[in-house]
């Protein structure tokens, strides 16, 4: 059907008029030939010529066909034959012939035009639909490409963020070197002392196996502890893709505090923990969350090193807030943050310290937000600051 509609049945140009002349001539010849055996007149050939001409060539050639048919009928068939004269008695007949021809031409051309218009409309619709389909497809392709691009960008961003977090972590660890060295050296010192004791007890004239055994067991404890410290540090430095697990923040806090403990005690700072025993697990990456906590602890310690006239205390508290959200607050009584500094506190590369790259808080905030939480600070100059973050707990609303 669409082929019929899309193929034009209309002739173009002067050929249309040729068709009129040819068809009327053919009708004339047929009528003249058939007049001999069948008698007069055979008008319907002319009607056919007019109809066919109008159908295929349009209204104009149709009128030409009507005109030619009229002349031919007038000359050859209306008495007196072979003259253009008309007898008065034949006038009505002749006029009705012309009228019929004209009406046929008009009707046919009208129908033809209507049909053509419809067909054109359909064709146009078809074309437009086709065009729209192509446009839609292009738009769709572009969208798919754009989405893939966006996903790649997001992945790249995520990778960069992970890598940056790791770099900042290593920087923080660097600041803790003395503390960590001590943390490893202590159990090693215990290992040596106890191993020496063990050997001494065994070397006696009457070896004391009970004492030797106790010393050997302490040796094992020391070695185990040293290796635990190493594992803990390594996991902070390692290049590992972030993973989602159920994280018990209380445990992470305790572990982190052991890393920073020395740093604190060297600066005469005591760290107090008030941990909610029924704290829900938090879905997230343990190392990254540990980094946030370590960073906030280090900041707290840093802010208190210059404080005199009051005991230096870092209080770490966990609690459940709202609909199962976990809140960690780290409170110091250090120098505090001034109102000028406060709005810039979480900006990347903003730092008030002589050493430090100013990425700690920016990274911490991005980690917390990537976990669907919030990190903010409140501070009073010369009284101290509280840094708090919330994270959706297990079963709570997830990001």
């Amino acid at each position: 059907m669409s082929t019929v509609l899309t193929t034009s049945t209309r002739l173009r140009g002067p050929a249309r008029y040729g068709l009129a002349i040819a068809l009327v001539s053919a009708a004339l010849i047929l009528s003249l030939v058939l007049r001999v055996p069948f008698g007069n007149p055979f008008w319907f050939f002319f009607s056919v010529a007019v109809i066919v001409t109008t159908w295929f060539a349009g209204r104009g050639p149709g009128w030409v066909a009507v005109g030619l048919s009229t002349l031919a009928a007038l000359y050859y068939f209306i008495p007196p034959v072979n003259s253009f004269a008309v007898k008065p008695a034949d006038v009505p007949f002749f006029l009705s012939f012309v009228a019929c021809e004209a009406v046929a031409n008009w009707l046919i051309s009208w129908q033809k035009n209507a049909e053509d218009a419809l067909r054109r409309a359909r064709d146009e619709l078809e074309v437009r639909v086709g065009e729209r389909t192509v446009e839609l497809k292009n738009a769709n392709d572009a969208l798919v490409k754009q989405m893939a691009e966006q996903r790649r960008t997001e992945e790249a961003l995520q990778r960069t963020r992970t890598e940056l977090a790791r770099v900042v972590r290593i920087t923080t660890i660097g600041e803790l070197t003395a503390s960590i060295a001590h943390e490893v050296n202590q159990p090693l010192a215990a290992v040596v002392a106890n191993a020496d004791a063990c050997v001494a007890w065994l070397g006696l004239e009457w070896p004391n196996l009970v004492e030797a055994r106790a010393a050997a067991e302490r040796t094992i404890q020391g070695a185990t502890r040293a290796s635990e410290v190493i594992i803990r540090i390594r996991s902070l430095i390692n290049k590992a893709a972030p993973e989602r697990a159920q994280v018990q923040l209380n445990g992470v806090i305790e572990e982190t505090v052991t890393l920073a403990d020395r740093q604190a005690s060297r600066n005469n700072i005591s760290i107090a923990l008030e941990l909610e025993p029924d704290l829900p697990h938090v879905p997230g990456d343990k190392i990254q969350l540990q980094q946030v906590i370590l960073n906030l602890i280090m900041n707290g310690i840093e802010s208190m090193t210059g404080v005199t006239g009051r005991s230096r205390l870092l209080l770490i508290r966990t609690s459940v807030v709202g609909d199962g959200e976990v809140c960690v607050s780290i409170k110091d009584n250090g120098i505090g943050v001034s109102d000028e500094v406060m709005p810039r506190l979480f900006e990347p590369f903003f730092t008030t310290r002589s050493q430090g790259i100013g990425m700690g808080l920016a990274i911490s905030r991005s980690i917390v937000e990537a976990h669907g939480g919030r990190l903010w600070a409140e501070s009073t100059v010369n009284q101290g600051s509280v840094f708090q973050f919330t994270l959706p707990g297990e079963g709570g609303p997830n990001p």
Binding site: A181, H182, N185, Q186, P187, L188, A189, A190, V191, V192, A193, N194, D196, A197, V199, A200, W201, L204, N208, E211, A214, A215, R218, T219, Q221, G222, R225, S265, R266
Partner: protein, 216 residues
């Protein structure tokens, strides 16, 4: 005074190290007492026996060096063996200046520690003996009457009896009597001995480390 069994005090905030050192010291038949902090040590009752202190320099709260200061301020003289993670020079110098016996770095070799402990206890034993002698000597000198003390001062300054008699406005005979009492009470065997003893007492009183309180 009968001497008690020597004791080694071990102060370290790390339980495993504390226990290890204690065990090591006990293995050579010495008594060892452990403390988790300098504060605990200060608060504890310590036996009056030859002793030494094995002390971690870096501890939370009162540090090893702080404790050394406090002991010194309280006139408690126990030889100290310091143990440190990484001894920096200024810290070592300060500790040695304040009379540390030994400075060992962690992890300490067992034999080094035991040698240091033996040496420290021997040193403390000597110190205690010396202190006891000094104390006894001082008691003897303290038993002199004011007049005898005046005579003693002039004798030690090298004055002759006649000069002393002139100085104090008494007869030469009286001076001789006082002098004989002085020699007797202080158990001086000769004038030279008396002078040496007087010198020793004076030096001890003038030194940074005066003798322990009378009660000791």
């Amino acid at each position: 005074m009968k001497e008690l069994e020597p004791v080694v005090f071990v102060i370290d905030d790390e339980a495993l190290i504390r226990d290890g050192i204690q065990s090591l010291i006990r293995s050579i038949g010495l008594r060892a007492e452990t403390f988790a902090s300098a504060r605990d040590f200060m608060a504890a009752k310590r036996p009056d026996a030859p002793a030494c202190l094995v002390l971690d320099v870096r501890m939370p709260g009162l540090s090893g060096l702080d404790l050394q200061r406090q002991l010194s301020d309280a006139h408690i003289h126990i030889p100290i063996i310091f143990i440190t993670g990484h001894g920096d020079i200024p810290m070592t110098v300060r500790a040695m200046k304040d009379g540390a016996m030994e400075f060992l770095t962690k992890p300490v070799r067992g034999q080094d520690l035991l040698d240091a402990v033996q040496k420290a206890i021997a040193y403390d034993r000597g110190l205690r003996k010396e202190r006891a002698e000094l104390m006894e000597m001082r008691n003897r000198f303290n038993s002199l009457t004011p007049r005898e003390t005046e005579v003693l001062k002039l004798v030690v300054a090298g004055l002759l009896n006649k000069q002393i008699a002139d100085e104090l406005g008494m007869s030469e005979l009286t001076v001789k009597t006082h002098r004989a009492h002085v020699m007797e009470k202080t158990k001086a065997e000769s004038l030279a001995h008396l002078v040496r003893m007087a010198e020793r007492i004076r030096n001890a009183s003038a030194s940074k480390y005066p003798s322990p309180p009378k009660a000791g």
